[in-house]
Amino acid sequence: MEKHLNLTLQVWRQKDGKSEGSFVDYPAKHISTEMSFLEMLDVVNEDLIRKGEDPIAFDHDCREGICGTCSMVINGRPHGPKERTTTCQLHMRSFSDGDTITIEPWRAKPFPVLKDLIVDRGAFDRIIAAGGFISAPTGCGQDANALPVPKQNADLAMDAAACIGCGACVAACPNASAMLFVSAKVSHLALLPQGQPERYSRVRDMVAQMDSEEFGTCTNHGECEAACPKGITMENIARMNRDFIKSSLTFRPEIASGGAG
């Protein structure tokens, strides 16, 4: 049943990457429990605009829990209190009348704040660019059924590939580690036959890029898994570690070899 709530928001406001930020309180009045969290912020922002104030900047796009754009820490939990739910899919029925809600951006050195709740997650793209792919130029594909993939592997690969790249794992990790994200991509590709040729160079390159972005390292707290809206499991981290170790043990430096002309 629809109800209405009166809330107090404590929101991190920061003009841009160079400025200092601070928390500012905003009332949110007569909020329907049928609204999504972002719709609640829309209502607050519309009011701010009408009053001539700067609305709260937050990242969002699909509002269906799939693009991974929305990103805020709500009452100390990335994406808020509901398990396996992104901020955009969180509904106000998860809150009660009179609540005070603290809203902060993802906090990690590799995710600098651009404004208010918006951070720059380009580090994730660079990690993918470093190796998170299968080199299969357009046109090279053989018949899609030529290489059967055991259903279980296909399903596990899909589980890992479900990652939306939101960064909640980094935000939740006490060490701001990106291992859950990186391992999800490593696993997705390592579980498929098509991913085998580059399996070991991929994991090495991706981990190297992850490190150079200055993410922290996993100490196996499990916070990432608990925060992940897509249910990516830490088994992927173990798989990545295993591949990384194997890769490091068997790594051969590349020797330049010329063609025969």
């Binding site: 049928e34 509904h91 357009t138 594909g141």
Partner: protein, 639 residues
């Protein structure tokens, strides 16, 4: 304006092969001397940028999101069609072609659709080799499901996240090229203007959405893959940022806009709950494989809980009206049928704008576990949004704006009426006619990006001398930059009281009422009066905080709404001029006795392409006649 479709002559089966052979090639050593801008990183843009870079061109790619991986294509759920006939159930390239032409209600160009069906096969091969984890059967081979408008199982899928997985495939290929330094990616950059010199596209102007910097990018060719303009309706299944700005700028610089009124209303979305609603969520069409759609037979029963309405008092209206396609009737037909029963007062839910999508039979037949396996994440999503458990009580659904078949007019090479400007994916008008079948937008976006543009752009560039790009001091560049700056300044100068969303919502209401599922002359004429009024109010009473030199989401939105306010008018104008019903365009004046769409092939078997003639002037309507030589014009029937 001349609309030369450049469709190859001869038998349709051979036309793409022949055309590819006839296209001139660019010498491999010369490719890196050409620069191509790809605006958009969705399926169409991402695939194009990666493929063109693989060929050796210098590519720059743009997206308004923070990462190319977040393009709207990510949200597609159901699947992608391909004529693989892996299931031996009678599929073929010709059948996919036939279904698509018929599904589009005979308003698409045959040759384009045939090519689409041909390359559909290569798309699946390509995606699998990139590591797209399509659903598989126990033997390890690819699984398929059925989608609306087809009687064969040809839809490949990756759980309820097909678009996501296909996009990640393209994104990874794109990131690979970025890592190799072959593509320069500009995320959080919005295209605001097209630069045209002597009628030829030479570059774009963008606004950096973080710093506010306005700058030009100059190239030998420009590809727009910026998606659809369905957000004109305000409430839609589109991502919030989807906009018509890029194609609208191109339109104003001379690219014809084809069939703007052809919009798709998707039958299975979660109904609106209140005024706060900011977008609508789609429930994949694949649900119609196992779900049965019904409403109570009697109005009086609508308030009762569904479990208390016995079988004999339920009207499974799709099964009743369309026995051979049943719940899998195409989208336009299903949406209209839902509207009809709700108009009769038999809609369900608090607003009366909803119908049931019921899984009880399927759960009894297959077991809850199997249903969970197939649709688990969709059911979860539904429950998250509505707080109702679809395993126990039927889903409530209602149609919502979902896709735009219209878009910039392109020839067989995907080139617009502005030479050097190519348009890909949902942004063009090419393949779906007046109604798009499910699982074919992903197919088209990837076909355009992976398998069409890499060939056809070469044919264009072979005729462009390397090293003839214009420089930043060219007057056309300065003019374009000034126009963008000017628009920003004008928006800030208004100093009114209403938010950008306010005007967007107003526009949406007018559009949905008059240019939505049912359209008629009086309504469209009214809309054409009201929209300019809203636009005027917008330019008089918009409140815009902050400045242009910073990250300013209100400014971004205001700029988009300003364009929607113009696009909406063109949509209504086109709808008014098309005096027939076809596909998603249902003019109430033209219907059969049973309420089905009544086409007028005599007068409207053509593409309508609109030419911009200056602000304040009426745009000019051109036509490209359509010929149907392989699939014969017939009344579309799904009975």
């Amino acid at each position: 304006m001349e609309l030369n479709a450049r469709t190859p002559e001869g038998p349709i089966e051979k036309s793409w092969d022949k055309h590819r052979f006839d296209l001139k090639l660019v010498n491999p050593a010369n490719k890196r001397k050409y620069k191509i801008l790809v605006v958009g990183s969705g399926l169409a843009g991402g695939a194009a940028a990666a493929s063109l870079a693989e060929l050796g061109y210098e590519v720059e790619c743009f997206a308004y999101q923070d990462s190319p991986r977040r393009a709207h294509s990510i949200a597609a759920q159901g699947g992608i069609n391909a004529a693989k006939n892996y299931h031996n159930d009678g599929d073929s390239i010709f059948r996919l072609f036939y279904d698509t032409v018929k599904g589009g209600d005979f308003r698409a160009r045959e040759a384009n659709v045939y090519r689409l069906a041909q390359v559909s096969v290569n798309i699946i091969d390509q995606c699998v080799s990139q590591g797209v984890p399509f659903a598989r059967e126990y033997g390890g081979l690819l699984d398929n499901r059925s989608f609306g408008g087809a009687q064969v199982s040809r839809t490949f899928y990756a759980r309820g996240q097909t678009g996501q997985q296909l996009l990640l495939g393209a994104y990874q290929a794109l990131e690979r090229q970025i890592g190799l330094g072959k593509v320069k990616m500009h995320s959080r950059h919005e295209m605001q203007e097209l630069i045209v010199v002597d009628g030829v596209a030479k570059g774009i102007v963008t606004r950096d959405m973080v710093t506010g910097e306005i700058r030009s990018h100059l190239a030998d060719a420009v590809c727009l893959a910026t998606g659809g303009y369905g957000n004109t309706m305000y409430l839609a299944t589109y991502a919030k940022g989807c906009n018509g700005t890029a194609i609208w700028r191109a339109y104003k610089k001379g690219a014809a806009f084809a069939n703007p009124c052809f919009t798709q209303i998707h039958p299975t979305c979660i109904p609106v709950t209140g005024d706060h609603q900011s977008k609508l969520t789609l429930m994949s069409e694949s649900l119609r494989n196992d779900g049965r759609i019904w409403v109570p037979k009697r109005k009086e029963d609508c308030g009762k809980p569904p479990s208390q309405i016995p079988e004999e008092d339920r009207d499974y209206y799709l099964e009743r009206k369309y026995p051979s396609f049943g719940n899998l009737a195409p989208r336009d037909v299903s949406s209209r049928a839902a509207k009809q029963v709700c108009d009769e007062g038999r809609g369900v839910g608090p607003t009366g704008l909803g119908v049931y999508l019921d899984f009880e039979d399927a759960i009894n037949r297959l077991g809850a576990k199997k249903i969970e396996e197939k649709y688990g994440n969709l059911f979860e999503m539904y429950e998250r949004i509505t707080d109702e458990n679809p395993y126990k009580t039927p889903m409530r659904i209602f149609p919502a704006t979902h896709y735009t078949m219209g878009g910039l007019w392109v020839d067989y090479n995907l080139m617009s009426t502005v030479p050097g400007l190519f348009v890909l994916g949902e942004a063009n008008f090419s393949d779906h006619g007046a109604n798009r079948l499910g699982a074919s937008a992903l197919m088209q976006g990837l076909a355009d990006g992976y398998f069409v543009i890499p060939y056809t752009i070469g044919g264009y560039l072979a005729g462009v001398k390397p090293g003839t790009r214009i420089t930043e001091d060219h007057p056309a560049v300065k003019d374009a930059m000034a126009a963008v700056q000017n628009k920003v300044d004008r928006l800030f100068a208004i100093g009114g009281k209403q938010t950008p969303t306010h005007f967007h919502r107003e526009l949406g209401k007018v559009m949905w009422e008059n240019c939505g599922m049912g359209r008629n002359e009086a309504g469209l004429k009214k809309a054409l009066e009201v929209i300019p009024q809203i636009r005027e109010q917008f330019w008089q009473d918009l409140a815009l905080p902050g400045s242009g030199n910073e990250l300013n989401q209100s400014l971004e939105l205001a700029g988009r709404v300003a364009d929607f306010l113009e696009i909406g008018e063109l949509m209504c104008r086109d709808a008014l001029e098309r005096r027939e019903s076809c596909g998603g365009h249902f003019r109430e004046e033209w219907q059969t006795e049973e309420g089905e769409a009544l086409r007028d092939d005599e007068n409207f078997c053509h593409v309508a392409a609109w030419e911009y003639t200056g602000d304040g002037n009426a745009p000019k309507r051109h036509i490209e006649p359509l010929k149907f030589e392989n699939v014969h014009l017939a009344t579309r029937s799904y009975k």
